[in-house]
């Protein structure tokens, strides 16, 4: 892995100047490396982070990638990682004009990483550096505990997709310092009314006493106040501890296990918590990328197109570019291309906003002619797409802007397939040109892990109880036992998973309907069984 040469770096820096002038914002420093295809294959299981922790199954993946490469030699083009400074990898032999296009694409990705709020949790650290420290720590543990370190990695990874990413994101800018302390909260909102069954008037009186105390003696008063409370009500402390447990996050299964597992609480197992934290944080780090594929690739495609065409350095390569660009951003006749859909959505939003169509006044209009003619010449197009780039995930992007006008404009449709028995072929046909159907199809194909949370009431020292909130799809059954066996190890006791199964109802081999039933998976002593609870069905 070498840095790109000075000539190419100069091209990059010139691209940056032009991109900044166009309104993109990103850190001054970036690093560009030339890598071989072999480097790329070796990096791919590590999500292209060269310093990510080692893990033996990565090596298996690398071997598999080599085998694949033997059959399908392919040439990586460019890839960029969200680090500080942003690092991008290139193939050696790109000609200058192509590098200009690629660099614009990369710069737009960097802009997206550094401005889209989904990535907010990644803004403060240099992940490559953090990963290196983590890698070294894990290596230490591996030296000391051998393959047990790898088991902890494996079992943590088995649930690193259900870490409540959006929950933690939404709490990010919550002004927590304005909230009263948990103890105060519990005392006035739960303990007094629910446990001691005090009347409102008595609670108000107590509140007044508390407020006066704070005003006169400041923060230290809280300690004094609660010392008195504890003497008066010895049950307060136990109640508060239970309350704290109840209020602790239950949507982040991995962190819950780390903080509450009886097995991990044992002193000799403390090191495992560090590994869990590393796996958890790495997963959180990658979480925004997969949730912004269309928005991010669309953004990069929008900018490489816009900036490349206006770049005077490319004269003579317009048709080369057109061919290359068409390969990246053309809509598939059948299949989904995130580059193409994302690019067109941004262009569509820009056009709508320029005409003032992103407004209630426009939405009210029903007549097609009036809709077409509507133009308030607001010139807010650029502002609009920059706002989308800042605030939208794929789901919001698709859900908000895919409408009938967009679908019609680009002749989009949902493709269905059926079997023509006489001809012995599968036919792909246009199933629907309705925006609602197209939107649903897109949303259904977005990344969405199952929503699995802890049921705290049924979770004990000896049992971890997970509940899957059914959203129309069952959990892939073949993987359930393996995951549960790993979780049993981490919890040090039985693990249960309550989930819903879909059972197709058949008549003469034809599926006529679906039945749903609640099932319970239990894992005890590495044996997994499935039962149907009595209240199920």
């Amino acid at each position: 892995m070498n840095l790109i040469d000075q000539h190419t770096k100069k091209i990059m820096e010139e691209c940056k100047v032009r991109a900044r002038a166009a309104g993109l914002t990103f850190d001054k420093e970036t690093l560009e490396y030339i890598v071989t295809n072999k480097d790329m294959l070796e990096l791919s299981p590590k999500v292209m982070i060269p310093t990510l922790y080692d893990y033996w199954l990565y090596d298996v993946e690398v071997l598999k990638e080599f085998g694949k490469y033997k059959l399908y030699p392919s040439n990586p083009y460019e890839t960029v990682i969200n680090s500080r400074p942003a690092i991008s990898f290139y193939n050696d032999n790109n000609p200058d004009w192509m590098n200009i296009m690629i660099f614009y694409h990369v710069i737009a990705h960097i802009d997206f990483f550094q401005n889209n709020t989904l990535f907010e949790q990644t803004w403060n650290d240099d992940f490559v550096g953090v990963a290196l420290a983590d890698k070294r720590l894990i290596e230490e543990y591996r030296k000391k505990y051998g393959r047990w370190a790898d088991y902890v990695i494996e079992f943590s990874r088995s649930i690193d997709n259900i870490t409540g990413y959006f929950k933690s994101l939404s709490g990010l800018n919550y002004p927590g310092h304005l909230d009263p302390e948990e103890k105060v909260n519990y005392y006035f909102n739960t303990f007094l009314p629910d446990v001691l069954k005090k009347h409102d008037s008595e609670i108000t009186k107590e509140l007044d006493r508390y407020n006066t105390l704070i005003e006169t003696s400041g923060k230290e008063a809280i300690e004094i106040f609660f010392r008195e409370v504890r003497i008066k009500h010895p049950e307060f402390q136990a109640g508060f501890e239970k309350y704290e447990y109840d209020e602790s996050p239950y949507h982040d299964v991995l962190l819950f296990i780390r903080d509450h597992s009886p097995f991990l609480k044992k002193e000799e197992n403390g090191w495992m918590k560090s590994i869990i934290t590393i796996i958890h944080n790495s997963a959180q780090y990658f979480a925004p990328q997969i949730r912004s594929k269309i928005a991010n690739e669309g953004w990069a495609s929008y900018w490489h197109d816009k900036l490349f065409i206006s770049d005077n350095r490319i004269q003579g390569h317009e048709s080369d570019y057109a061919r290359l660009n068409a390969g990246v951003t053309s809509l598939s006749r059948v299949g989904l291309n995130p580059y193409a859909i994302g690019l067109r959505l941004y262009q569509y939003i820009e056009d709508m906003a320029n005409k003032g169509k992103l407004s209630y006044n426009f939405q009210k209009i029903r007549s097609i002619e009036q809709r077409d003619a509507f133009n308030q010449h607001t010139g807010k197009g650029q502002d609009a797409i920059f706002e989308v780039r800042q605030k939208f995930s794929d789901f919001m992007f698709v859900n908000t802007f895919v409408d009938q006008d967009f679908v019609d404009k680009h002749s989009l449709f949902v493709v269905g397939k059926h079997l023509d028995e006489k001809k012995g072929v599968i036919e792909y046909y246009i199933k629907s040109k309705k925006a609602a159907d197209y939107k649903k199809m897109l949303i259904d194909s977005l990344y969405h892990p199952p929503h699995i949370v802890i049921n705290k009431e049924l979770t004990t020292e000896k049992r971890l109880y997970l509940v899957h909130n059914f959203e129309g799809k069952q959990v892939y059954p073949a993987y359930i036992p393996d995951v549960l066996v790993g979780l049993e190890y981490l919890w040090g006791g039985e693990v249960k998973l309550e989930t819903t199964e879909i059972i197709p109802e058949k008549e003469n081999e034809e599926i006529v309907g679906y039945n749903y039933r609640t099932v319970m998976y239990s894992c005890k002593n590495k044996k997994v069984s499935k039962t149907i609870p009595k209240n199920g069905q």
């Binding site: 295809n37 649930i159 493709v415 023509d420 012995g424 072929v425 599968i426 194909s445 066996v485």
Partner: protein, 450 residues
């Protein structure tokens, strides 16, 4: 790990039901079934693969084989710790127009997590996006319902075609891994065989300076080597061959010599049921197992294995190579005896039992339209006197119930399994619940001496 789903219906379907089912499947297949599809989705494309390539840098796969062994060692330790193994051996197959597809054996691993299962949803039909001209309901493309010859990637039958060279070199590596890492037993020779080698005289020995035949390629290599050592060739610059010096020992010749010519030591018959009922999991299981056995024997006999392949439905046919054997699509009904009869005929006609260790591996889903199995018993009994081992694998269909299949019943009733435990083995399991471990376990059962 006990799969909770296994024991769902305990009453096995009647023989007529199985036969009817099979006929239905055949009818269904004639009409075509759905192939695996590879339509682009949102996450299939990424920056570094949307453009075609410029140079092909093929990494040296062989140098990594050692680390694969390390990984397998590591994987094996998992069993001691009571956790399931993670590495599976898969094969990647690249289809090609001229029917000479490549096969590469790769280790692969899955990472179990809680994922949504997209295969069952309320909307009966899988959909994707599209764009362009056309009205609702209009057909915009079609795809052959039956997978094309050698299409796709996977573990199964019906995929891939390769040159002989490709499969044997890969198979040898795989066989080594299987033998050493998955603890498959080593073979024992029957003992009564004649010497496995004979001598021939050929221009194979290499001699420098003089000899009968100048080896031009080797000579050129020597000359280049000499000149590099003399500093007359700079690796970065082109050179003029006229200026090269030729040393007296640079001429490489071939001379006549006595050669040990290894004879094939074993003949292996692979017999596979490819009747309608084999469709899906059973066919996949059997062909994977046979690939493993084939690989293992290639290793055991240092590539000196002759293989014969027989497919059967109601009749039997011999096919020329492993790939045809692998990829043949399911055909009609099921009769087992003709396949063994054919193996017997071949052995007797070509006098194979005089010179070779003979192995027969047979894979089926357990179905046989011959209810009594008399014919089968007769032909197998005859075969037993000629062969080292007959291994029968019954990979049951999930819809076949949990009882004994016809083949199992016929074999048990015949009593030969108990009478000749050293010569014939039978292993049966549920194909849909089988993984690679079970398949390898099956091989151990079939080939072990205990």
């Amino acid at each position: 790990m006990e799969s909770p789903e296994k024991n769902k219906n305990s009453s096995p379907p009647s023989h007529e039901e199985i036969m009817r089912r099979e006929l239905e499947i055949i009818a269904g297949i004639r009409q075509g079934y759905l192939p695996p599809e590879n339509l682009p989705g949102i996450y299939t494309k990424s920056d570094w693969n949307v453009l075609p390539g410029y140079f092909n840098l093929v990494p040296d796969y062989k140098t990594l084989l050692k680390s694969l062994e390390d990984l397998l060692d590591y994987d094996k330790k998992r069993e001691e710790d009571g956790f399931p193994r993670r590495i599976r051996l898969g094969k990647l197959i690249k289809p090609s127009r001229n029917d000479k597809s490549k096969v590469v054996v790769v280790p692969t691993s899955t990472e179990p997590k809680f994922y949504h299962d997209d295969s069952i949803t309320e909307d009966n039909e899988e959909t994707t996006g599209g764009s362009g001209e056309g009205e609702e309901g209009e057909v915009i493309g079609q795809q052959q319902a039956q997978p094309q010859k050698g299409e796709g990637e996977g573990q199964g039958a019906g995929q891939g075609e390769g040159t002989d060279h490709d499969v044997s070199s890969e198979a040898f590596d795989l066989g080594k891994i299987l033998t050493e890492k998955f603890s498959l037993p080593n073979l024992q020779n029957k003992g009564k065989k004649r010497a496995f080698s004979k001598y021939t005289y050929d221009l194979t020995d290499i001699n420098r300076g003089f000899g009968q035949l100048l080896d031009k390629k080797a000579t050129l290599k020597r000359i280049i080597e000499t000149n590099i050592l003399l500093g007359r060739i700079d690796k970065d610059k082109p050179f003029d061959p006229e200026n090269l010096l030729i040393g007296p020992k640079d001429h490489v010749y071939r001379i006549l010599s006595k050669e040990k010519d290894f004879e094939t030591q074993a003949v292996v018959f692979f017999i596979r049921d490819y009747s309608g009922s084999m469709q899906g999991a059973p066919a996949e299981t059997i062909s994977t197992q046979h690939l493993f056995i084939y690989s293992w024997l290639m290793y055991q006999y240092q590539n000196n294995v002759q293989t014969r392949f027989i497919l059967h439905d109601t009749g039997a046919k011999e096919v020329p190579d492993f790939y045809t054997y692998f990829q043949s699509q399911v055909a009609g009904g099921t009769r087992v005896a003709p396949a063994f009869q054919m193996a017997l005929d071949i052995i007797l006609k070509e006098n194979l039992h005089k010179d070779f260790n003979i192995y027969i591996f047979y894979g089926t889903d357990g179905d046989d339209w011959d209810n009594d199995g008399k014919e089968l018993k007769e032909v197998i009994t005859t075969l037993l006197s000629l062969t080292n081992r007959i291994g029968i694998t019954v990979a049951k269909n999930s819809w076949g119930g949990t009882g004994q299949t016809i083949v199992e019943k016929n074999m048990t009733d015949s009593g030969i399994l108990l009478k000749y435990p050293k010569l014939i083995r039978l292993d049966s399991f549920d194909a849909s619940g089988s993984n690679e471990d079970r398949i390898i376990e099956g091989i151990k059962k079939l080939v072990s001496d205990t």
